[in-house]
Symmetry: C2
Subunit: 207 residues, 2 copies
């Protein structure tokens, strides 16, 4: 019990230089962890990437990873740096926008298992859900805003688009409902594109 | 190391009656746990219901709950006994089927937080995902089969319906995308019903 005050005394004697050294060390440790995490998650996938392996890659103790990031899910949500690479829709003929978008989304989901991992993590972890809201707000939102007639409706239309595309991803890759898993990619595009087209361009909800 | 054979010897001496007593005790313990879990999850909701409280309600040790069910998520998936109370669509005029279904789903989702918990659990836990596939197969599947023109297409059409309705639930209740959260219920029905109508009744994917 007497050790705590002594440690605290010692800390208060530490000079400005060593404090800023500590802070720099902490920043560079975090950066090393994030860099290692990004590479591990990309290479091994979310499930197989372990805190232990990430710590080893960053040459630090696993307990430090937990101290800085709390859990694998939170580390993942912080490291996840997804660029959906959405196409420039202003260059796409109006009647092909939905087909282009749906096809693009399916390619992204099939090609990047970390996006599936983010969806799974987002369902139970608030940091990951927050990351999905950011992706929605900074990438999907502006893309939809660039093509809708009334910018005031861009948020709602982007939200509806998200309900359909994330719902498809949920049923196909996460819950694995058999008839959704067995749809061929071109069938999926043929079914989903008219839905997305309506969400983006119909005059009113029920038209 | 020598204890194992001795225990095994002792077990082999136990008579038929005590074995079946054990098995009956185990069955009744499981039943007591499930009954307590159903009540706790319904009363307290998934997040607040604890293994400790469920064990206390069933008058057994929490370690026994974990021994029988492994985790709170698995216990929940086993206890979850959802009846979607889908309406008899054969009695609904054809052009009102989608509006009726979408309105019904929204009421179910808004009224039962355990269904939201099942969706969250299903994203990360295979037992819960399996439970969602069962609900899909035994409740949504037959309902859709009762109204589609070609029974061979019922699975695909029910799957597409699921992608939209589960995707809406995911974005509104779990990920909480702002524009989806802020949709009024009647706006949601107006946007989603034409999608569902098309998935259930359109002649071909792209019509």
């Amino acid at each position: 019990m007497s050790a705590a005050p002594r440690r605290s005394d010692r800390t208060s004697r530490s000079d400005r230089t060593s404090r800023s050294d500590n802070s720099r060390r902490s920043d560079s440790t975090r950066a090393a962890i994030l860099a290692a995490a990004r590479e591990r998650f990309a290479t091994d996938g979310y499930e197989r990437a372990t805190i232990r392996a990430i710590a080893a890659d960053a040459s630090i103790d696993p307990s430090m990873v937990m101290r800085y990031y709390g859990s694998k899910e939170k580390l993942f949500a912080t490291a996840a740096d997804f660029d959906l690479h959405l196409p420039d829709l202003s260059q796409v003929p109006r009647e092909q926008i939905a087909t282009t978008l749906v096809g693009h989304f399916l390619k992204v989901w099939e090609g990047d298992e970390t996006l599936q991992a983010l969806l799974r993590a987002g369902a139970t972890n608030e940091s990951a859900a927050q990351r999905m809201r950011e992706i929605f707000g900074t990438q999907l939102g502006p893309t939809v805003a660039s093509i809708v007639a009334d910018p005031g409706e861009a948020g709602t239309r982007a939200g509806l688009l998200a309900t359909q595309m994330l719902g498809f991803a949920l049923c196909r890759y996460v819950l694995r409902l058999p008839p959704v898993v067995s749809l061929r990619q071109e069938e999926a595009v043929a079914w989903l594109a008219p839905t997305v087209q309506r969400y983006l361009t119909s005059d009113t909800a029920s038209s």
